[in-house]
Amino acid sequence: MRGATSAKWVAGAVIVAMAATACSTSKEGDGKAKSGGNITVVLGEPQHGLIGQNTAESEGAEVLNALFTGLVDYDNKTNEPKLAVAESIETQDSKTWTIKLKDGYTFHNGEKVDAQSFVRAWNWGANQDNAAEGLPFFSKIEGSDELAPGKDKKPTATELKGLKVVDEKTFTVTLKAPFSQFKTMLGYNAFYPLPKAFEADPKKFGEAPIGNGPFQMDGAWEHNKQIKVKRFENYAGGKAKLDGVTFKIYDNLDTAYNDLRADTIQIVDKLPTSAMATVSQEFGERYIYKPESGVGYVGLPLSTNPEAFGKVEIRKAISMAIDREALTKTIFNGTRKPADDFINPIIPGYRKGALGEVGTYNPTKAKELWTQAGGVPGNKIELGYNADGGHKEWIEAVANQLKANLGVEVTAKPFAKFGDMLTDLGDKKYKGAFRMAWSMDYPAAENYLRPIFSKVAIDHGSNYGGYVNEEFEKLMDEADKTVDPAASLKLYQQADDIIIRDLPYIPVFTYMSSSAYSKSVKNVEIDAQGRMDLANVELN
C-alpha cells in the first residue's frame, strides 16, 4: 500500500520534472553565450551615502568598487598595487609624491577625471566639518591639522596645504613625514576622485553617485531594497561585459543563499555559516574559497592589568596553550586558518611560520612557562567577546583549552555589542582578555602593525591593550622613510619580529572568504578585500 502510493508520487514528480525541463531548455536557448545581460548579486545595506571618503565598511565599498576607479588597484593574486587612473606615482624621499594621471578617464557625466577631482575629494574628506569616516586617512598629508583641528575648534583652512595641482593631469602630495606605503594606500576608497557635481549637494550625491568606474548608477539607491548599476560605455579601463548589475540588499544571508540556489541571484560573496557543510558539494567549481584579509586575536590589556598579563611568559604560555589547528577545523569548519604571522598570508611581506614556537600548540611547554612565571593573580582569567557576532563558540573553546592546559580558571564574558566591550575596556571597567580582529584598509604589511600596535593606535586605532614599545616605533618610522620597497619591507618585518617577541595580542586565526555563484555566470573573481570583480563577469 505504502509502496504503491510512493510509486504514484514518483511518477507524478517525473512527469512534472519532464515538463519542467521541456520549458526551461527552450528558455535557455535564447540566452546562450551572448555578451551583456544582467545579473543580481548580494549586498547588505551600506551604512553611509555612497561617497568613497565616507565609507569604511565592506558593503558600501563593494558598490563603490563598481562605480569608481582609484589611482591604483590591487592585483587579485599578489595584492601588489598596480596603476589604474594614475599614469605614474613617483617620489624621491617618500615625502613628496608626484602623481600623473592617464588620459581618457571621464566621470559618468562626461566630466574629465583631472588632478582637481582628486584634490577636491581629499579636501572634503579631510575636513572635520564633514565628519567623514575616511578622515584619519588624510592625517598624513601636510596641512591636515588645519582642516581637522579637533572638537570645539573651527577648521582654519578648506584646502590641504600638501596638495598642489601642477597641471590638469598632474598633482603633487606633500606628507608631514615620509611614508613609503603611500602608493599602496592610494587604492583605498577614501582616495577616490569626485566630480564637480558632488560639491552642489554631497548628500544627494551619495544617493546616486557619479563615479569614474566601469559601472554607473541606473537610477538612485533604493534603500534596503537594491542598487542598480549599468555598464559605463566610455570607461577607459577594461569595459565591463555585463549590461547591468543589481545589488540586491539582504538582511539575512541564509535567504540570499537560497536565492542563489534558485538562481534568482547569481553571486553571493559572503556565504552563511549554515551553508559551509554542503556548499562545496552543491556548487563544486563554482564555490570560491580563498584567504581573506582578516585576522582574529585574543587581546590582552597590558596597560590596565599588568599584574596578570605584564609578563611575556604568561602571554606566550596562553598562546602555546591554544590548539589553533583543532579550533579552525572543528569550530570553523575550515573557514579560518591557524595564524602563523601577525601579517596576513595574502599580504606581500607575510612569512610563513613567522610566529615560530609561540604559534605552535605545545601544552607541556605552555604549562612550564606559566608555572615559572607564577601564573596570574587569583588564578583567574576573563575572556570577553561580543555576543552578536558568532564568537561564542570559539571563545569558549579557547577558554576550555586554557583551562585544561594551564589549570587556570577561565570565564567567557559576553558583551551585548562590540562597542560595549570597547567602552568598558576604555573606561578600565573591564580588565580581562578580549577578542579582537583586524582587517586591512590596504594590502601592506605596515597596515597589520601600526593601526594595532603603535602608540598612535591607542587613541586612533585598535591598540586596546595599550602596548607601547619604542624600538617598534623606531623601526616603523625607519621603514616609513625608506624609499626602496624591498629594504622598507625588511624593516617592517623586523618590527613584526618585535611584536612576535612581545606578543601584545595573541593571533589565533586568519579568515577565509567563501563565495559561490550560479550556473548562469562565469569568470567570477573575488579580490582580497572580499569584493566581486564585476567588470569581468560574463553570462554563460
Binding site: 514528480a13 512534472v16 520534472a17 515538463a19 519542467a20 525541463t21 520549458c23 526551461s24 545595506e45 551604512q47 553611509h48 551615502g49 569604511a56 565598511e57 572635520q128 566639518d129 565628519a131 567623514a132 569616516e133 578622515l135 584619519p136 581637522a148 579637533g150 572638537k151 548628500k203 551619495g206 534603500h223 534596503n224 531594497k225 540586491k248 540588499i249 539582504y250 538582511d251 539575512n252 541564509d254 535567504t255 540570499a256 537560497n258 536565492d259 540556489r261 534558485a262 534568482t264 552578536d388 557576532g389 551585548a416 555589542k417 562590540f418 562597542g419 560595549d420 570597547l422 567602552t423 580582529a437 583586524w438 582587517s439 587613541d459 586612533h460 586605532g461 585598535s462 586596546y464
Partner: protein
C-alpha cells in the same frame, strides 16, 4: 457612540506620550554607542565620533534629548539617523510592505481559521475535527523560522527547479501579490491555528446554549441557526483575538520579514536595534503603539455590532 469615540481618542494621547517617554528612556538606558556601531569592528576615529556626537546631541543629558525629540515630533520631525536619513522616510518606505503582508496574513488567518473552526465544531469528534486539531497542534509547536526556512527551500528552490515558480525565495516588488503569499501564510500560521481552535471551542459552546436549541426547535434551517444565531455570539472572543493580532501583525513580523527579505517595519526594528539607532526605534515603536490603540478601538466598536446588548454612550 460619537462621544465615546472622541473620549477614546483623547485617552490615546497620554498613552502615546507615556509610550514615547518609556521607549526613549529604555533605549537610552540600554546604552550602546550608535557612532561605534556605525564604524563596525574598527574603532571609530575619535574626532569623527566627537563631531557626530555633537551634531546629533548624543552627549546631552537624557531629559534634554527627550525634550528635543518631543518638540521635534510635535513639528512633524521624527528625527534623523546618524547616516542622515529621516526617520519619517524610513517608516513611510517600510510601512506599505508590512501593511500588505499583514493584510494577506490577516485574510488567511481570518478566512481559513474561522472556516476550519466552524467545520471542526460542527463535525465534533469526526475525522475532519481530528485532522484540524492535529494539524493546528503541529503548527503551534514548530517555531516560525523553521517552517519559514523549510517551506522557502521546498517551495522556493526545489519546486522552482521542477519548473513551478510560484513562491519566490525572497521578496521582489515585481512579483506583486505572489510575493506575499508564502510569507503571509508563514506569518499567519501560528495565529491561524489559534483562531481555528478558538472558533471551534467557542462555537461548540454556543451551539449548546438554550437559545440555539430554541432556534432549532422553532424549525429554522440549520444554516440560519449556525450563521445568524450561534456564530454571531461565538465570534466575540475571536474578534478580540483577531483585533489584538492585527496589531502584532503590523509590527511583529521581524522573523518572517527577515526570512523572506521583506524590508518592512520588522526589518527596520531589527536594524535599528543592531545599529543602536534609538531615534528610529522610538519612532517605529510609537507608531506600533498607535496601531495597537486603533486596533483595540475597532474591536471595541465591533462588539456593539456583534452583540446588540453592548452599547457605548
Amino acid at each position: 457612540m460619537g462621544r465615546y469615540l472622541i473620549r477614546r481618542l483623547i485617552q490615546a494621547i497620554p498613552v502615546l506620550l507615556g509610550a514615547t517617554f518609556l521607549i526613549y528612556f529604555l533605549t537610552f538606558a540600554l546604552g550602546g554607542d550608535p557612532v561605534q556601531a556605525l564604524a563596525g569592528e574598527k574603532k571609530a576615529d575619535p574626532l569623527v565620533a566627537a563631531m557626530l556626537r555633537e551634531k546629533y546631541h548624543l552627549d546631552d543629558p537624557f531629559l534634554v534629548q527627550y525634550w528635543n525629540y518631543l518638540t521635534g515630533v510635535l513639528q512633524g520631525n521624527l528625527g534623523e539617523t546618524l547616516n542622515g536619513r529621516q526617520v519619517l522616510d524610513l517608516i513611510t518606505e517600510a510601512f506599505p510592505y508590512t501593511v500588505n503582508l499583514a493584510i494577506v496574513a490577516f485574510a488567511i488567518e481570518a478566512l481559513v481559521g474561522v472556516t476550519a473552526g466552524i467545520m471542526a465544531a460542527l463535525r465534533r469528534g469526526k475525522f475532519l475535527d481530528q485532522l484540524v486539531l492535529l494539524s493546528t497542534l503541529l503548527v503551534i509547536s514548530i517555531p516560525v523560522f523553521v517552517t519559514g526556512f523549510v517551506l522557502q527551500l521546498l517551495l522556493g528552490v526545489e519546486l522552482k527547479e521542477l519548473g513551478f515558480d510560484f513562491f519566490p525565495v525572497s521578496f521582489n516588488e515585481s512579483d506583486g501579490f505572489k510575493a506575499y503569499l508564502l510569507p503571509g501564510f508563514i506569518l499567519a500560521s501560528t495565529s491561524l491555528a489559534y483562531v481555528t481552535r478558538l472558533t471551534r471551542t467557542s462555537l461548540m459552546e454556543t451551539m449548546r446554549a438554550d437559545y440555539v436549541r430554541t432556534a432549532v426547535a422553532k424549525g429554522l434551517p440549520r444554516r440560519r441557526v449556525v450563521v445568524n444565531h450561534a456564530l454571531r455570539n461565538a465570534l466575540i472572543p475571536i474578534v478580540t483575538f483577531l483585533g489584538a493580532d492585527l496589531g502584532s501583525l503590523m509590527g511583529g513580523a521581524v522573523i518572517t520579514e527577515n526570512i523572506f527579505n521583506i524590508n518592512g517595519i520588522g526589518g527596520l526594528i531589527a536594524q535599528a536595534i543592531r545599529l543602536d539607532q534609538g531615534t528610529v526605534l522610538v519612532g517605529v515603536v510609537t507608531l506600533l503603539v498607535l496601531v495597537y490603540l486603533l486596533a483595540n478601538l475597532i474591536v471595541d466598536l465591533l462588539y456593539a455590532v456583534l452583540d446588540p446588548r453592548i452599547r457605548y454612550a
